[in-house]
Amino acid sequence: MSETSLRSAFFTVLKRDLTLAYRTRTEMFNPLLFFIIVISLFPLAVSPDPKVLQSLAPGVIWVAALLATLLSLDSMFRSDFDDGALEQMLLSVHPVSVIVLGKVLAHWMVTGIPLLVLSPLLAVLMHMPTDSIPALMITLALGGPILSLVGAIGVALTVGLRRGGVLLSLLILPLYIPVLIFAANAVSNAAAGLPIAGQLYFLGALLALALTLAPIATAAALRISLR
């Protein structure tokens, strides 16, 4: 097994998942719509006062991003589990973690990037100062992949269960807390004109950690789930 064939396996899986997402693209928009709707509930529920919204915005946007990711996670392995494609992936000569990484990357490209692209619009809806919008986008760029990576472990553990959905959120949300804390805080700091480098470094470190360990844990979890 050569390195090139491993790379080609990775890119084949990536391309495959992107093609699948494109062909079922209507489903792709649902988490995005959810993201927007949840955020637009806050002015209605709390107050349309720009000052209030501004102080809530970083947290609200990040919590909504977390929940939107959570909703989209199930699609990562569900259909492959149902039609037996996941079995074939586990029986591949390639390390399962590499295949998993390809799938996670595809998931992030399909759900994380749209959230990222949409976030300035929501920042405006929440009256966030313009200066903090780049910070919001950077945190989503660093934190989004972590959400997909860590989420993959949870989906892998619950994919064989008939009612895994609620359980998935119980398993995954506590693990999302560090990302939430650092990302939301970085955005608040940016809005207040404070430095955010420390938080971003921390998010970067978390991303590196998740990138190394999560695919291995996911692969192990998939093997267990498919028994």
Partner: protein, 220 residues
């Protein structure tokens, strides 16, 4: 019989032997099978028979390393399959009850993915394979428009692509028409006669010479 020709020469020089010792599977306090011993060598097929729920599928999944046995061991060339995983995965192909064909992809794309997973260079074109399984003209339509039998043909096409010596097949004749069954059967017989190994669950008798076909009957 076009399928029977041009099969990949699976009987390459590498020795191959599958040994099963004391294989036991217990599910939810129910013993599906206990203390099963057998071995399989190139040029042999193993047919697993038994009524529904007797553990045929579990046994196949155990043999390909997906499910863990409750007890016993499975050896590939004398080594436990989990210790020689990459070699075993390269030598083995499994088509389960759910055959892993994506409905949203075309047959051609499905085969491309299978090829990337298997890490082999095909000695024939993907179109050629599809033609052999009787899907000429369906290369570029989404699999969702195909019938169940046609989807299964795509899955079986994977076998023609791979250079695996051991084929593990769960009810390969399901959903196929009479002609398709005959085609697949000749494909399996040919594989075995060329030094391949086949393990399958089916009630369909395989037309193999004596000594080439072993049978295991799982009784509940």
């Amino acid at each position: 019989m076009s399928l029977a020709q041009n099969l990949p020469d699976s009987s390459s020089d590498t020795p191959a032997k599958l040994e099963v010792k004391g294989l036991t599977c217990i599910r939810d306090d129910r013993v599906l099978f206990r203390g099963l011993d057998f071995s399989l060598e190139p040029g042999q097929a193993l047919q697993i028979e038994g009524p529904n729920g007797s553990g045929k599928t579990t046994m196949l999944r155990t043999l390909c390393g997906l499910t863990l046995p409750s007890d016993g061991e499975i050896l590939w060339n004398g080594e436990a399959i989990e210790d020689v995983r990459p070699e075993y995965m390269a030598a083995m192909d499994f088509i389960g009850h759910a055959h892993g064909i994506k409905k949203e992809l075309t047959p051609l794309e499905n085969l491309q993915v299978a090829l990337a997973m298997a890490d082999t260079n095909p000695n024939q074109s993907l179109e050629g394979v599809l033609e052999k399984v009787g899907l000429k003209g369906f290369e570029d339509v989404p699999a969702i428009t195909l019938s169940a039998g046609q989807c299964r043909r795509v899955a079986l096409g994977r076998l023609l692509l791979s250079k695996s010596i051991l084929w593990i097949l769960d009810e390969p004749f399901t959903a196929l028409d009479v002609q398709g069954q005959a085609q697949i059967e000749s494909m399996l017989v040919n594989h075995v006669e060329n030094g391949g190994m086949v393990i399958l669950t089916s009630h369909h008798p395989l037309a193999l010479k004596d000594g080439m076909l072993k049978t295991i009957n799982l009784r509940p």
